[in-house]
Point group: C2
Chain length 399, copies 2
């Protein structure tokens, strides 16, 4: 029986303990006789919980116990998670984490440290919740050069976009609903401003190119400006508005961005609704592939963490290589990115045609404004041209 | 540089050589300095082909060359592939195959032999072409008990079903078209009778339950009876007809079948069209997940084979455990399977109601017959009841 410790007994951490209990027998068959949680590190106590006798408050108890081979980090945030994870790897323990902030910020360094110590640092649950995407990228799509990776990586905002589309509601109303249902936090900034999706696409891009991609470099827009009127236009155009996090290989290098896009029914991500997540991947020999599933939630996310634990149990003496060096990748210039834009404006049709030429005008029955779609142009060119209009809103138009 | 041999230089085998050439540099970075094809085993010669100097006609040249560490089997069929693969594993060489017939028939035995010899026997490309599904099942969905696995696993029949739905054509016409496009073989039996999908779901079920599932035990129906009239009813019901290969965990054990189903737009496989494949998986903690992509084709399938080669290159001294024992799993009694049935009959509505009670009648504007949908009932009960009607056609109705 392999002994493990769980650091952080919140939603995911308690989910990990639960999954290990529920599927104890089948996991034992797959993981060298089974995995037992020996310690739970948390500031709190959990009287009445099955793990109540395992709670410790001092991280050094885990560091100094040679019996502990696997450590789960489900605390969230960069510190003290980083200090604790580093101490575990240095003590020769394998680590799996669900913490996207930690992985986006310190992934390359922790992978290098794990390699040096001949242990494993895995992080399947940090992107896409229960959807297997990190391991497929690292060990299944290895014959390909990945040309594009685009995901719906945040369940909260996807739930909100779906509800706005279906019910004609405004942003503030669906946010309230999402908060009441527990899908959005009291401070929803990280979700609705796209920061969460940004860290996740930074991680995926780093894995795809094998270099460090700093999330701060990624152009990120959230969904806070999307309105019921925008949804009316999208419906008229037969499209859905989705918050996409995307990386594309271009002549100028990788181009990464997070922003709402209007996508057509032919787009593989069009039917991804509610809190579901999905990742679309285009490889130069594989062609198009998609991975779809529960992007968040206690048990789905814990399922990914426990799958990492099983993988570690099978690789106790064998380092699973992950190509992600600390050498920084400079992203391509966002201003040179080519996109198609949907624009709502209070300027007249003549003005539009003067500036944008032969634009497609869309009538969604909203008075006092015009909606239109531009040709393909660079972000810089669009910024220059649109500055000459009275713009009400802008949404990029996807495939 | 790791030396490899390719046995069988047909579509997939030549694709493997091509992928290794196209992505040589990136593969070198991921696979211990790179992989080089040293031999190609085939009955033919290939003058003018980049591998012309590597062709050998005697399998023993490969068996007896200690430099060869990885052998690719892309010959197809059980023999002589089985004899050759066995010889390679016994000689301590790692093997990857795209051959579903070989894996369905001899998988358990070859996995056991590989374990004994501390080498790897991988077969990602045997199911779902380029879609990563074998490795995710084996190493990513390990925290779960898989309750259902359902796939569109045959691109030829999915292309035909899509074309029949879109263009109102009859089976024979779309078969001709599929043959002209090279999607269907001259003898299309294995595809259109569901035999190909049957072997693939046998492999997936074996991996899910860890035991040997004999494909001969799986109830298999093809698409040869599907007509333009059936498609009219499906359209009227807002559904698509898809050839599904499915395994479900029931109280009586695993229930596996291959048959056309009418599925609703809410079903995750509804939008899988043309030659694309997809696999839907439901785990007891993960919930629903789906894997989608190119299920066939030279380069996508070769991409999966080469990904296996990279995985082997990273595990030259480390056996990747695969749970699939030779102990046979008895499938649950198909007669007890519960399904909903769509029936076309020339019997009258009164007769239908006498036998089936309150059935939903569907009018697709076809004279001289009635279409209706039953309640949920067992296959046995349906067989008994439907024997009392003049049945024109029957299609099961999915979620």
């Amino acid at each position: 029986m392999i002994k493990a410790a769980v650091m952080g007994y919140g939603t995911i951490g308690s989910g990990v303990a639960e999954v290990l209990r529920i599927n104890q027998d089948s996991i034992a068959g797959k993981a060298n006789g089974g995995i037992e949680v020996k310690y739970v590190l948390d500031l709190r106590d959990f009287p009445g919980d099955p793990i109540q006798d395992k709670v410790v408050h001092d991280v050094n108890i885990i560091v100094n116990d040679p019996e502990i081979q696997i450590v789960v980090e489900t605390m969230g945030g960069v510190e003290p998670a980083y200090t604790f994870v580093k101490a575990m790897l240095e003590a020769g323990k394998h680590v799996t984490t669900s913490n996207k902030a930690l992985v986006a910020d310190k992934g390359a360094e922790l992978i290098a440290l794990a390699r040096e110590k001949n242990v494993n640092f895995l992080f399947e649950a940090s992107v896409g919740g229960g959807i297997p995407i990190i391991r497929p990228l690292n060990s299944s799509l290895t014959a390909d050069e990945i040309e594009e990776i685009t995901g719906i990586l945040n369940g909260t905002t996807n739930y909100m976009m779906t509800k706005m589309a279906n019910e004609g509601l405004e942003f503030d109303d669906v946010l309230k609903d999402a908060q009441e249902k527990g899908y959005a936090e009291k401070d929803p900034t990280a979700d609705v401003e796209g920061y969460d999706a940004c860290r996740k696409i930074a991680i995926l891009t780093s894995l795809v190119c094998g270099r460090q991609v700093d999330f701060q470099d990624i152009h990120t827009e959230g969904i806070t400006k999307i309105s019921a009127a925008d949804m009316k236009y999208a419906k008229k155009m037969g499209r859905a508005i989705k918050l996409l996090a995307s990386s594309r290989k271009t002549d100028g290098g990788y181009l990464a961005m997070v922003a709402p896009f209007m996508i057509s029914p032919e787009h593989p991500l069009y039917n991804v609704n509610d809190v579901f997540n999905a990742v679309f991947v285009r490889g130069n020999v594989l062609g198009d592939a998609m991975f779809y599933g529960s992007g968040a939630g206690k048990l789905p996310t814990a399922s990914a963490v426990v799958a990492d634990m099983v993988d570690i149990a099978r690789h106790l003496d064998c380092h699973i290589g992950i190509e992600w060096s600390s050498k920084k990748l400079e992203l391509a210039d966002f201003g040179k990115a080519e996109n198609v834009f949907f624009v709502r404006t209070s300027s007249g049709e003549d003005t539009i045609r003067q500036i944008f030429g032969d634009a497609d005008v869309i009538d969604a029955g909203i008075g006092g404004e015009i909606g239109f779609v531009t040709d393909v142009m660079t972000e810089d060119a669009f910024a220059e041209k649109s500055a000459k209009l009275n713009v009400i809103s802008v949404i990029r138009v996807g495939q």
